[in-house]
Each structure stands twice: as structure tokens, then as C-alpha cells.
């Protein structure tokens, strides 16, 4: 029995190895699928579709977007982790999926490090801390001073418990030593509605969502959670300028393959993605949504995942954040 099984395994491994080699040469020879863990219409879908379209041209095979929303990216992650690592199933992955959720959810059904092979980071979006336009708070130091004067009296809305919006808010509390009341909402639109309606005093959400409101003069941006200002909101200071240099939080998106994908495939894909990322057309396409185009090597992406995973782990521990 045992012998038979190990022989079968060896044969299977051999077969996989051979097909793997054969594939690298003429890869891709049939249509590819890019799994997007969100429904059509959001930032992730927009990024995924753009890259799918561009990759179709550069790889010479159609890249079909497959939206698999649900369970805060877990359904897509699980499906991709179990997919054949033949390079024909790609996935868009987010910071939340690879760096935050693993720190929060004990019984996660996938391993963010072992189950995926990072290919390249493609885009990132910083967060913004905003208040109502009529608020008397008009800078980050003023917000911190107000929060210190009345501990726990100010509240902030986030796009959900355990999301990057929430963790950015907690990072702000942690770095500035203040106490703000966290009020989670079901996504960005209700969270921003909550601030516009005056239910909460502050909102922490993505540049994509808040920029139009700030441009229209409905809200005031106090700080951008990145090292540099955004051309979209030239009047909003960066974290360093606002006096809180460590307040950097970026929601990034990257392409990953299921575990076991051959290095040649990773290299080929990462090369193709790099060419797309460097084209000025790509930057232009995303600029008005506040999405920055990123590029890098597979190793660099792996490092980013590990680094952010560790950092958010610390914030989660310091803020005693749980999904309970």
C-alpha cells in the first residue's frame, strides 16, 4: 500500500515537473484567469481589469477577470490557494488579505505566506483623515490637541472593524497617545455619510473615497497617511509635514500565484507587469482616483508583505483589536 502510494506520488511529481518545464517555454498557450476578491465596480476591480486588459495584449492570450467576492477576500484567497499552480490562475491580492487578516483571524483558511507566490505589487492607495468642512479643527496637531483635552469624546468612523481604515485610526491613536472612539460602518460610503451627517467627528478612509468630498468643499483633509503629498489633494499635508512621521499606512494591491508556481512563470509575469507599470498611460489612468502605480520585484513584494504583516501585528496588539 505504502509503496504504491509513494510510487504514485513520485510519478505525479514527475508529471508535474515535466509539464511545468514544458509550460514555461510556450506559456501562456491558453486564456488566463485573474481572480479579483471584490465585486465589480470598486477600486480593486478597476485595477484588476486594467491589468487584465494590458496583460492580454502583452502575453498574447486573453486574461479573464473572475470576481470572487465574499468573506472579506477569504473566499477568493481560498480558491486561489487551492488552484493549480500552472500560471493560468492569477489573483489580485490586497494588504488586508495578506498583511492584516492573518493577524486578526485565528482560524484563517489560508496561509498568507505559504499559500501564495508573490509576483509584483501593482498599486497603492493612502488613507486620509478628514473632518467636516465646518469643524473648528483644521490640522492634525489641532485634532490631537482636541483629543487630548477631551479624551474619548471625539469619535471616528471607519469602513469596518479590522480594515485598513480602522487600523490607520488605531495607528493614529497609538502614535499620538490620544483616545478616539472607533465607530465601524459597513463600508466606505456609509462611513463617509456618517461624517457628512455629523454622527462622528472624524473619518479615516481611502484617498479614492475622500478626495471628491474634500475637493467639493464638504470635508477638510487633515493628513495623508503617506510620506508625500498627493497631486490630487495638494493642500493636504503628508504624515511628516503634519508632524507624525510614522503615520504611514498604504492599502496596496499586488498580483500573486498559487503556491508551487514555477520561478520561470513568476519571472515572465513580473516582467510583463513591470512594463505595464512603467508606462505613463497607467499612471494617468489611475491618478484621478488617487491610486498610485507601484512596481517592484517578486522579492520586494514578499518583503512588503512580511514588513506590513509585522507592523500591523504590532498595532493590533497595542490597540487590543479583536474580531469579537
Amino acid at each position: 500500500m505504502k509503496l504504491a502510494r509513494s510510487v504514485t506520488f513520485a510519478l505525479a511529481a514527475l508529471a508535474l515537473g515535466i509539464t511545468g518545464l514544458a509550460q514555461a517555454d510556450n506559456y501562456p498557450s491558453r486564456p488566463l484567469t485573474l481572480v479579483v476578491p471584490f465585486p465589480p465596480g470598486g477600486a480593486a476591480d478597476t485595477i484588476g481589469r486594467y491589468y487584465a486588459e494590458q496583460l492580454s495584449t502583452s502575453l498574447g492570450q486573453p486574461v479573464v477577470v473572475d470576481n470572487k467576492p465574499g468573506a472579506g477576500t477569504a473566499i477568493a484567497a481560498e480558491a486561489v490557494a487551492k488552484a493549480k499552480p500552472d500560471g493560468y490562475t492569477l489573483s489580485l491580492a490586497t494588504a488586508g488579505q495578506l498583511a492584516i487578516l492573518p493577524n486578526l483571524q485565528k482560524d484563517l483558511r489560508y496561509d498568507p505566506v505559504k499559500d501564495f507566490v508573490p509576483v509584483a505589487v501593482v498599486a497603492s492607495v493612502p488613507n486620509v483623515v478628514a473632518v467636516q468642512a465646518s469643524s473648528k479643527i483644521d490640522s492634525l496637531p489641532a485634532l490631537i490637541a482636541e483629543a487630548k483635552a477631551r479624551p474619548g469624546a471625539l469619535s471616528y468612523s471607519s469602513c469596518g472593524n479590522g480594515t485598513l481604515c480602522h487600523l490607520s485610526g488605531e495607528l493614529l491613536k497609538h502614535l499620538s497617545g490620544t483616545d478616539l472612539l472607533h465607530v465601524p460602518y459597513k463600508g466606505s460610503a456609509p462611513a463617509v455619510t456618517g461624517l457628512l451627517g455629523g454622527e462622528v467627528d472624524v473619518a479615516v478612509d481611502t484617498l479614492t473615497v475622500l478626495a471628491p468630498q474634500i475637493q467639493a468643499g464638504k470635508l477638510k483633509g487633515l493628513v495623508l497617511t503617506s510620506a508625500e503629498r498627493s497631486p490630487l489633494l495638494p493642500g493636504v499635508p503628508s504624515a511628516t509635514e503634519a508632524g507624525l512621521p510614522g503615520f504611514v499606512a498604504s492599502g496596496w494591491f499586488g498580483i500573486v500565484l498559487p503556491k508551487g508556481a514555477a520561478p520561470e512563470l513568476v519571472e515572465k509575469l513580473s516582467g510583463a507587469i513591470g512594463v505595464i507599470a512603467r508606462s505613463p498611460q497607467t499612471a494617468e489612468r489611475f491618478a484621478q482616483n488617487g491610486i498610485s502605480v507601484e512596481q517592484g520585484t517578486p522579492a520586494g513584494f514578499a518583503e512588503l508583505i512580511a514588513e506590513d504583516g509585522k507592523r500591523w501585528g504590532e498595532v493590533i496588539e497595542a490597540g487590543k483589536i479583536t474580531l469579537e
Partner: protein
Amino acid sequence: MELLDHLAIGLQAAFTLNNLLYCFVGVTLGTLVGVLPGLGPVATIAMLLPITYGLTPSAALIMLSGIYYGAQYGGSTTAILVNLPGESSSVVTCLDGHAMARKGRAGAALAIAAIGSFVAGSLAILLLAAAATPLAEAALKFGPAEYFSLMLLGLVAAIVLAQGDVLKAIAMTLLGLLLGLVGTDVNSGVERFTFGIPELSDGISFVVISMGIFGIAEIIANLERDHGGKAQVARVGSLMPSRDDYRRSWKPILRGTGLGSLLGILPGGGAMLGSFASYMIEKRLAREPERFGQGAIEGVAGPESANNAGAQTSFIPMLVLGLPSNAVMALMAGAMMIHGIVPGPQVIDERPELFWGLIVSMWLGNLLLLVLNLPLVGIWVRLLAVPYRLLYPSILLFCCIGVYSVNNSLFDVLLTVAFGLLGYLFIKLRCEPAPLLLGYLLGPLMEENLRRAMLLSRGDPTVFFTRPLSLTLLIVTALVVLLMCSPRLRATRQVAFSED
């Protein structure tokens, strides 16, 4: 007259050949997916979103919104003919609409639904054109305390929906509340009642419950009674409403329009309450409330008007503030992003042709739908003559495909079977399903807002009484409860109870 200038811009934009064509395509598709049970506008728009890449932004938005309100028209057709609500808003239409169909008055019910929807749609669009911005600003004042009180009122309405036993109706509402809690809790992120099944972590979708409890359960129960193999709901009566029908319907249509328009504006999503609220009011105001549930045309006219009015005004938060209030609107905002338009407060000023073009096209679309739907009434009614033994496998197939299309999940199809068997049990035990669905829809919103209100008030429950709007809603709720216990309604309940 600023409004006239704006409408001129809109007319210019909407009357290009291209946009007219896509408006027509949108409403036709919408009617089609509305008629097919289970296949709703959310799934359809999500599937078609990538196709709109090649269109102009105006054409894309016009077509996608056409699918949305077109489905509101189409959804009532299935509800009336085969007692199958594909949309949360058509649950109420089933009650009296299908009862009318059973009495051979399907034609009148379908026609009144289309006419009511048209009137309501036109008036709501007028409201949208005249006062979108101030309404959007005003609606922002509706905070968590107000939402909670509104949901409480909605739950009381759920009990009024039932014709039989009040206790069973309350129990069904509570069971619905419990079913609505399945999935990830918004406030804490913890999964509840999911049994570790990933497909349940976003909750049970509405289509699964309604296709199970209404669709499959109804088929099983019908087959049990089936002896001759003839159609169960046949008997084709007159196609058009009588003079008496119009006399009874015009007031409910106007009241429904008002209610639906107001609830549709709420940024937290209140459009689905419109049809329930309208039904409750019509039943209260009617001279013979015992006719409700037995095929009262007011019970079709009011709710159908309310739901189409709400469908139009639910565009307000998205168009004016850039903040989508429901899943369809989130997809519309996504469609804007695909076309390089940032959804936000500037859209009205920066792209007036887009905003006003969409509004004019919505009115055009409603007109098209009326023209499209009235002649279709004859065809739909004839569909009832199809023998049931041929009809039910088709309904079964559409239910399955519809359920599958929501999440591309076969697990959902299996779950629908479970709800079908449960629904069959409910029919046998004389438990009406409508209150369960309303409880399911309101439960999560109610809990979310209760907890948020308590969090924001730092644990002080008086917040529900000190905010004027919330207090008003609570007083109305109390009044409805009192009236429910009043002798007149109790008497009618007893009549209904002893009849069965």
C-alpha cells in the same frame, strides 16, 4: 428658470440616437431579468458592467439604470403571476397581486402595477430634478437612532402584513430577524451562525430565502394538490382594470409615491421599506381591510408605486453626494469610475449633461416601460394557460439559475432547497412567509443601527427619545400597535382566522 435650463441640457443629452438606443436596451433587459425569477438587477448589472467599457459614460449609466428600474416593473410580473418575488420590493406585491391572479384578475393587477409604477416614477423623477441637492442634504440628518426607530416601525408593519394568526406572524418575524443575523457582524467583524462555512460568512442572500420559501415551497405544495394536471392559477379574466379599479387605485398610487420617494432618499438604504409601509397604510385606511390578502387592488397599486418611486429617488445619494446607498448604486458608482468619472458631489456641476441626461432618460425609460408592459400584459396572462406540469420545471430552472447568479455559488442553490422544504413546512403549519422576509431584511439594519446609536451616545438609551425625528417615529410605532389592538382590526382578524 434654472430647472428649465437643466432640463434642456438633459433633453439634448438623452435624445441622441445612441442614448435613446441604450435606454431602450436597458429597460428591455431590465424587464426581462425582472420577469425571470431570482435573476435580479444586481447580478445583471455586475455581469454587464465590463461590457459598458466600450460605451460613452452617459450611455453606460443610462443603460445600467434602465436595467435597475426596468427590473422593478418586471419583478411585479412574476410576483403576480406565479407568486415569486425576485426582489425584496415585490414580496408585498405577491400578497394581493397573486390573489388577484388566482381570481382571474391577473390582467388588472399587472396593468395597475405598470400604470402605478409609471405615475410614481414620473413624479419621483420630477422631485429628483427639482430638489435633489436639498433633499440629499436633509437626508443626512437621518442618523442611527432614526434608522433604528424606522426599522422598529417596519417590524410592526411586518405583523400587519399577515392575515392570519398574530402570534405566528410575530414568531415568523423573529425567525426572520435571526436568519438575517447569519454572517459577519458589521460592528465586531465576528462570524455568527455560520458553522464555519465560508459561503455563509456574508449572510444568506435574499434570493436564496425567497426562491426557497416562495418558489420551491409553492411548487411542492401545488403539486400535492395537483390531480388533473391543469394549471393551478389559470382562468384568464379581463385584461384591463375596470373603472372601479381605477377609482380604488388612484389614491394608493399617490400615497405610495410619496412614501416611496421619501424612503428612497435615505442614504442608509430605506427604499425596500416603501412597499411594506405603503401596504400597511392602505390596509389601515381601507374601509374593508379584510379584503386585503384576498385580492385587493389597493394592495398592488400602493406598494408597486412606492417601490418604483423609491427606485428613482435612491439615485439621489449616489448622484448628489457620490455615496451609493445600495448594491445597485455601488455598481453605478463603479461604472462611473470605469469611465474615468469620480463619483462625488462635483458630478452635477462638472458633468451636467451626465446628471440631467440621466434624469431625462429615466423619465423616457419609464414611458418606454409603460408602452412595453401594457401590451405584454396580454401575453403574460396567456402564459397562465400553460399547463402547470410544463410550467413548474421551468420555474424551478429559473429559480436555480437566479440563485446561482447572485454569488456564482452552487452552495446557495443547495441552501435554497433547504429553505424550500422549510417553506413547505410553513405552508402546512399555516405560517405566512411575508413577515419572515421582512424580519430578515430589517434585522441586520436594526441591530447595526441600535449598536451604533448606543456607541455614539456612550450607552445612553434616551438618545432614541431626545432626537425629534426618532421620537416621532417611535410615537407612530406606538400608535400602530395601539390601533392593531383596537376592536375593529381585532374583529377582522377573528373573521380571517375563523375562515380558514
